[in-house]
């Protein structure tokens, strides 16, 4: 997915991605990534948890606005956060 992100960013749009593997992300080096700590298959959180899904997206927008260093990976532990359903 980082390969696609790099192409979009190179074309002149600001991008941010979810990382599910820090190892892969460190290698491919997309411009901005957030590692939320969710399990594989759950980049935005869990089924039916609409508030938590929205919170994840808002975090992405926040970091998209704040990041100014290319290649930054923000590491979070949202999987251990309390349920916000």
């Amino acid at each position: 997915m980082g390969l696609i992100q790099r192409a979009i960013e190179a074309a002149g749009m600001s991008t941010i991605s979810i990382s599910l593997s820090k190892e892969i992300t460190r290698s491919v080096r997309p411009p901005r990534a957030v590692y939320p700590g969710f399990p594989l298959g759950h980049p935005i959180s869990f089924p039916g948890q609409t508030v938590r899904q929205l919170s994840t997206l808002r975090l992405l927008l926040k970091y998209l606005e704040e990041m100014n260093m290319p290649g930054t990976i923000i590491e979070l532990d949202l999987n251990k956060s309390s349920e916000q359903k």
Partner: protein, 173 residues
């Protein structure tokens, strides 16, 4: 018969990795991925609240009316599917044997937050949701990497640029 065995093997591995994050991390640590030294960078052109957003997923999402992604080619499928942003989630389905999407089958927003980004627009977090999003099947190996990097991804980038998209959120699976 061989194709059935391949699909069974891929789905079993996906379930094992999903249930055992340490095994997945070990696999990732000992695998070789594309390695870059440069990093493309486009600063935000306008405030997020005034921006038009599009989604890209590599979760194998497609319309039920669109052709399936190729699950038999061991190098994956570098094609993409265009997804109208106002589509009902009942018209979406996932074709991907390389991760366990049983939870995403219950609520596709966890890999492709198509309804949640409309919520962001309604709440005023963003100005607009683009009229289309894009979906890939993110298991790309061998010769397909070149196709993805040099043909398909730049083509999708041009389409998003033509749509005057400002910001893009990408979700793997």
């Amino acid at each position: 018969m061989i194709s059935n065995l391949k699909q069974l093997k891929d789905r079993t591995l996906a379930k094992i990795f999903s249930k055992n994050p340490r095994l997945f991390r070990g696999w990732a640590k000992h695998s070789t991925f594309m390695r870059f030294t440069n990093i493309p960078w486009t600063p935000l052109k306008r405030n997020i609240r005034n921006s038009r957003l599009a989604l890209i997923t590599t979760g194998g999402v497609r319309l039920t009316s669109q052709p399936s992604f190729d699950m038999l080619d061991p190098n994956g499928d570098p094609t993409f599917r265009e997804i109208p942003s106002t589509i009902s989630i009942n018209d979406l389905i996932i074709t991907h044997n390389y991760y366990d999407h049983s939870d995403a089958d219950k609520d596709i927003n966890i890999v492709f937050p198509v309804e949640r980004v409309q919520d962001l627009k309604t709440a005023g977090d963003i100005s607009d949701v683009n009229h289309r999003h894009f979906s890939f099947m993110g298991h790309i190996l061998g010769k397909h990497i070149h196709t993805l990097m040099n043909d398909v991804a730049p083509r999708v980038a041009r389409m998003l640029k033509e749509d005057c998209v400002d910001i893009v959120i990408l979700t793997p699976a």
